[in-house]
Symmetry: C2
Subunit: 336 residues, 2 copies
C-alpha cells in the first residue's frame, strides 16, 4: 500500500484544509502520514470526526513560513514538518512527500536529504497544464531561475520519462519554449539548446511559442524556471481576467443574466478544467525520491487531489522510470 | 495634418487588407502615404472605389518577406516598402511609419535610418495590454531577446514617458516582471534591476508577477524581449483556448446553445476588448522617429486602428516626450 507523507502545516489554508483533504484521501484508500504539530492536529481530526483508518499523525513541532528568507534557513530546522516529512521518504516509511508550503524550502530540503538522480544537475518543477485535449508538461515551472545548457537538456529527458510513465503518453513530443520557430531565434542559450535537443534521440519538434504551449503542440515544453514561472502565472492572470468578465455578465442586462444562468454549469465545468486543482500537485523531477508541491492556495479538494496525484505517480513507477532515462546523461559540460 | 506612411506590402493579408484599412483611415481624416508597388496598388484602389482625398501611393518596387533571414538582409534592400516608408519619416514627409510586415526588418531599418534617442541603447517594443480597467504597457515585447541592466532601466523611462504623453496617465507606476515579490527573487539581473529602479525617481512599485500584469498592478511592466514575447503569446494562447471552449458550447445541449446565443453579443464584446486589434499597432520606443508595427494577422479593421494609433501618438507629442525623458539617462555602464 502506498503511503504518502503530507505536510499538515503548509499552505495558505493549513492546517484545516490539509487535515480535511487528508481525511478525504484516506477514506479513498490512500495511506496518509500527516506531518505536523500533534497538539494542533489531534483536536482538528477530532473536530472532523476522528482519523479514518489509514491516516496517522507524525509529530513535527516546527513549521516553516512562506517567503524567500525562510527557504534559505529551512535546511537547519530539523523539527519542521517539511524536514520530518522528507525524512519519511528517505527512510522508506513513506513513498512520497506532498507539501503546499514554501516551495523553496521543500526544494532545498529534498535536495539536501534525498539528493539528485544520477545524470541530473538541477531538479525541476514539472507542471501539468490542463489543456482541453489532454495535459502537457511544462518544466521548469520555477525551481531554477537561471539555467545552463545541460540543465535544459536534462529537463527534456525528465519530462519525457514522466509523461511516458505517469501519463501514459507512448512517445511524448518535446518542444523548446522560444520566441520564434526558426532554430536561430531567441537567446544564445536557446539556440544552443535547440541544437542539442535536435540530436538527443528524443522526439524533438523544435521551438514552440507561448501560443503553441496552450495549443498543445508538444507534450513536454522545456524552459528555464524564470520563463516557466512567468508562463504559469500569466495563464492564471488571463484566466482570472476572463472569468471576472464572465461573472460580470451575470449582473448585467436581463438578457446577459439569463444567458449567464443557462451557461453556468458549463462555464463552471470549463473553469474546473482550467483549474490548477485538477492535478493538485507538481513533482520535483530529478530528486532521488518522490516529492510534490501543491499550490499555496490549495483547499481541501486540492489537497486530496494532490495526494492522489502523488499516489498515482508512485503506483505507475515514476521514480524508476525517471532514474532509468537519466542515468546516462552528460552532465557538467557547460559548468562555469 | 498628420501624415502616416503605411507599408502596403506587409502582413499576412497584404496588400488587400492594408489598402482597405488605408482607405478607411483616410476617410476618417488621416493622411496616408501608402508605400508599395504601384502596379499592384493602383488596380486595388480602383477596385475599392478609388483613392479618397488624403491617400496617395508612394512607389516601392520590392517587398521584404517574413522570416529571420529576410530581416537580416533587409538593410540592403533600398527599394523595399519598409525601407522607402522609413525614409519618408526620415525626410519629414511623414510623421510616422506603420507596418504589419517583418518586425525584425522594420526594427533593423528604423535603427539604421533613424537612429536612437539620446540616452537609449536599445529600442523596445511597447505593447499595450487591453485590460478591463484600462491599458498597461509591457516592454520589451520582443525586440531584444537578451538585455543588460541599463537597457531595462531605459525601458522603464521610455514606458513611463509613453504612458504619460500618449495615454494620459499622470504618474504611471512601474513594475519589474519577476517570479516573486521580494527584491531578492529571480535572476541576478532582475535583482540588480530592482535596485536600480528603486532609486530611479520613477514610481517603482517593485516586482510584479505574471498574474499581477493582468490584474493591472503596474501601468508599465519592464522585462526583457524574450520574457515579454512569451507573456504576450501565452496570453493569446490562453484566450484562444477559453474562447474555443465557449464556442464549443454553442453547439452543445439545448440549454448551452440558448445560453450561448443570449450571451453572444456580450461575449463578442469581451473578445473584442481582449483583442490585439483594439490598439492596432505597437510603437518601437527609443527610435529617433515614430515607427509602429501592427500584428502580422491584421485585417482591414486592425490596419485602420493601427494608423489611428500612430496618428494619435503623434498628435499627443509622443516623440518629444520620449526624447525629453531619456536624454539624461546613463548608458553603457554594463557594456561588456
Amino acid at each position: 500500500m502506498t503511503v504518502i507523507a503530507l505536510d499538515a502545516m503548509g499552505g495558505d489554508r493549513a492546517p484545516q484544509a490539509v487535515v480535511e483533504g487528508a481525511i478525504a484521501a484516506a477514506r479513498n484508500g490512500i495511506e496518509v502520514a500527516l506531518v505536523g504539530d500533534e497538539a494542533v492536529l489531534t483536536p482538528l481530526l477530532t473536530r472532523f470526526g476522528g482519523a479514518p483508518s489509514g491516516l496517522r499523525i507524525v509529530h513535527a513541532a516546527d513549521a516553516i513560513e512562506m517567503g524567500e528568507h525562510a527557504a534559505l534557513e529551512a535546511r537547519t530546522r530539523h523539527d519542521s514538518s517539511i524536514y520530518v516529512g522528507v525524512q519519511l521518504v528517505k527512510t522508506g516509511e513513506a513513498e512520497a512527500f506532498v507539501s503546499a508550503g514554501n516551495t523553496g524550502a521543500v526544494f532545498a530540503i529534498a535536495l539536501l536529504s534525498l539528493g539528485r538522480l544520477r545524470g541530473i544537475e538541477r531538479p525541476a518543477l514539472g507542471v501539468l497544464l490542463p489543456l482541453p485535449n489532454g495535459p502537457a508538461l511544462l518544466l521548469d515551472g520555477g525551481a531554477n531561475a537561471e539555467v545552463r545548457l545541460t540543465h535544459l537538456a536534462q529537463f527534456a529527458h525528465l519530462g519525457v520519462a514522466y509523461m511516458r510513465a505517469v501519463m501514459g503518453v507512448a512517445e511524448p513530443t518535446v518542444g523548446l519554449l522560444n520566441i520564434g520557430e526558426e532554430p536561430t531565434k531567441g537567446t544564445h542559450l536557446a539556440i544552443e539548446v535547440h541544437a542539442v535537443l535536435a540530436t538527443s534521440g528524443l522526439r524533438f519538434i523544435g521551438n514552440v511559442e507561448g501560443r503553441d504551449v496552450f495549443a498543445h503542440r508538444a507534450d513536454v515544453v522545456v524552459t528555464d524556471g524564470f520563463t516557466g514561472n512567468v508562463v504559469l502565472k500569466t495563464a492564471e492572470g488571463v484566466i482570472d481576467v476572463l472569468f471576472g468578465e464572465l461573472r460580470h455578465l451575470a449582473s448585467g442586462s436581463l438578457r446577459d443574466r439569463l444567458g449567464a444562468w443557462l451557461l453556468r454549469p458549463s462555464l463552471r465545468a470549463i473553469a474546473d478544467r482550467s483549474d490548477y486543482r485538477r492535478y493538485g500537485a507538481v513533482p520535483l523531477l530529478g530528486i532521488d525520491g518522490a516529492v510534490f508541491v501543491a499550490h499555496g492556495r490549495s483547499d481541501a479538494r486540492a489537497i486530496e487531489s494532490a495526494v492522489r496525484t502523488a499516489a498515482t505517480a508512485i503506483e505507475r513507477g515514476m521514480l524508476p522510470a525517471l532514474a532509468e532515462s537519466t542515468t546516462h546523461l552528460r552532465t557538467g559540460a557547460t559548468e562555469a
